[in-house]
């Protein structure tokens, strides 16, 4: 009798143990399968332009909780969220400058203000303090200015949906680039639309953005340098470049003469708590 009870008890405890082990197995299997999906891309991070104020890539990935609030406040819809192709970086924000660059038309760096985690560090207050990356001139030979050509029409064609804020059209609101055709004797779109250069010009005219002297960038970001005396010029990136990507977006040449390089970006960004 007593033996039987013991046996029955053993049997039930064995059953429970089996069920527990099976559950653990299923669970581990599910997690494992989920992880497998991430593994192929785990090793190789895609270096992408991160939103203004982003910490150094490693810190940034650790700090970002993928809530998407920066996406929600961007007035030009520049910020996108990465999908599974970025492995563990799924859900973190990036900027595809060619499609829509950050033109700082929000003035106040809304994405930085919206970030709850400090992944976009609150140390950054003004556009010229941003350090997203650096512009690089990659196929200079194609550049219209290098060829001495002008530019007439819509910068990126009639189908391009990207937006820019043209202070002379509307001080507050960005409008589609296709609604603002150009007529230039020598193409200088990258310099003309550079948010840093625009701010410098405004400051030089005695009218800093929002009437705030601190908005004035201390360094130039890009200039056209004469190649010879035929009037041909080439774009040169200067120290003031913050990597916002407007020059890449506005460049009418396909593929763009200037592209953003974020591999060296945020080199000066401080740590999570800095």
């Amino acid at each position: 009798m007593n033996e039987n009870v013991k046996k029955a008890k053993r049997r039930t405890s064995q059953k429970a143990r089996r069920r527990f082990l099976r559950s653990v197995l299923y669970g581990a299997g599910a997690v494992g399968v989920a992880l497998l999906g991430y593994l192929p891309v785990a090793g190789q991070w895609i270096t992408r332009l991160r939103p203004p104020g982003a910490l150094h890539e490693e810190k940034f990935l650790a700090a970002c909780i993928k809530c998407g609030q920066c996406v929600q406040v961007c007035p030009v819809e520049a910020i996108r969220l990465a999908d599974l192709d970025e492995g563990f970086g799924v859900g973190v924000p990036y900027i595809d400058a060619r499609a829509q660059a950050c033109d700082f038309s929000c003035d106040g760096l809304q994405c930085v203000l919206a970030c709850p985690t400090g992944a976009l560090t609150h140390e950054v207050n003004y556009p010229h303090q941003v350090d997203m990356g650096v512009a690089r001139v990659v196929n200079e030979a194609q550049c219209l200015a290098v060829q001495g050509k002008g530019f007439r029409g819509q910068a990126r064609g009639a189908d391009f949906t990207g937006k820019l804020r043209y202070a002379e059209v509307d001080r507050w609101n960005p409008i589609p680039v296709r609604d603002h055709p150009y007529d230039l004797d020598l193409c200088d779109l990258c310099v003309r639309q550079c948010p840093i250069e625009i701010r410098i010009a405004e400051c030089a005219a005695g009218k800093p953005p929002s009437g705030d002297e601190r908005q004035c960038p201390p360094q130039h970001a890009i200039k056209l340098e004469p190649i010879d005396d035929t009037g041909r010029k080439r774009p040169v990136i200067l120290d003031g470049c913050v990597g916002c990507g407007v020059c890449e977006m506005i460049c009418p040449v396909e593929p763009a003469v200037i592209v953003m390089d974020s591999s060296e970006s945020r080199a000066s960004s401080k740590g999570l708590r800095a």
Binding site: E58, G68, V73, N173
Partner: protein
């Protein structure tokens, strides 16, 4: 009959409806936000004079509807941003505790401004237990509809999942998720936590076009719930649920059974989404105070109590057959 008075039960039994209202509101908010965003950016990018006639009509409509509430809808609609994972509500930033824990693990640092945003949710969880899972979570909204779908499918004669696993797996998932977050330096839990995924995916789908991998993951969890185990993801796998359960272990507000009123009908057990055992006082740390058991109880045997621990098993309900048999048996022996 020595039934015990349950004074407020007429209120408690309707809480489940209130819960559905809350769940619907939260979900509606998540769906509405991206539309608001699209509207805002669109209005901002287009001068009113340049709008097409039908666009003007839409603009005027929104303007008329919001006129009593605000002068500038495009600006005032900014009052709510984000989602249930982390959001700003009239200037108050709230963050899911799992986001904070996940970030701490990934960065191996404490970022106090973020920790502070989780303070209110943590406090509420300590008081009310895992209420987030039943009352707020946008995934719960869909998961419970999914459960209802399973009921309909069963009525049609189809078989749905009824497997049971060990509920402790989710603590393993939480632990493993945090360890892996620390190892990889990315907030991994955000990738497998349905409420975080839903907010993100809805916004992305509406405002920016297209679903991502998160949606695929969520659909898989829905199928898992439907075909393998009822409410399986929340019961057995959700890392957030695990964290909330731990936080709510010594919650103050508990649903408890009044044994004198209970007739052992077991409807509470059948309706419990989390597979708990209210019939035998088995609430435990995973009860989310969803009040579904109160809503179905035919004998007013469920009530709220303020205490730190569950009542131990009180035995069969006094209105049930088992209790009478026991009593009868007792009398015979005496």
């Amino acid at each position: 009959m020595n039934q015990k008075a349950n004074r407020w039960f007429f209120l408690w039994r309707h809480l489940n409806k209130l819960r559905w209202v809350v769940l619907s509101l939260v979900f509606t908010m998540l769906v509405a936000l991206p539309f608001v965003y699209v509207y805002q950016t669109y209005v901002a990018a287009h001068a009113y004079d340049l709008l097409a006639p039908d666009e003007k009509r839409l603009y005027d409509l929104v303007e008329t509807l919001t006129a009593p509430l605000t002068d500038d809808p495009a600006e005032d609609l900014d009052a709510i941003k984000g989602n249930t994972w982390s959001g700003t509500f009239w200037g108050l930033q709230l963050t899911d505790p799992l986001a904070v824990v996940g970030q701490m693990a990934a960065a191996l640092e404490v970022w106090w401004p973020l920790v502070l945003t989780a303070l209110i949710p943590v406090l509420l969880t300590v008081l009310f237990g895992r209420f987030y899972c039943g009352w707020i979570c946008p995934a719960t909204f869909l998961y419970e509809l999914n459960t209802n779908l399973a009921v309909w499918l069963r009525r049609l004669g189809l078989r749905t999942g009824r497997r049971r696993f060990d509920r402790r797996i989710k603590y393993l998932v939480l632990g493993l998720g945090l360890v892996l977050s620390a190892a990889t330096g990315a907030v991994l839990v955000a990738a497998i936590y349905p409420p975080a995924i839903i907010g993100r995916e809805i916004f992305y789908a509406v405002a920016l076009g297209g679903f991502g991998a998160g949606s695929v993951f969520f659909v898989i969890t829905l199928l898992f719930d439907l075909l393998v185990a009822r409410r399986g993801f929340c019961r057995y796998l959700c890392p957030g649920g695990a964290l909330y359960s731990l936080l709510g272990r010594y919650r103050l507000l508990r649903i408890q059974r009044i044994v004198e009123n209970c007739n052992d009908c077991a409807k509470c057990n059948a309706v419990c989404e989390f597979g708990l055992d209210p019939l035998r006082d088995g609430f435990g740390q995973e009860c989310n105070n969803c009040t579904a058991c109160m809503a179905v109880c035919p004998t007013e045997a469920m009530t709220f109590r303020i205490r730190f621990r569950d009542q131990p098993d009180q035995g069969p309900g006094h209105l049930g057959r088992l209790y009478r048999k026991q009593q009868g048996g007792g009398r015979e022996a005496a």
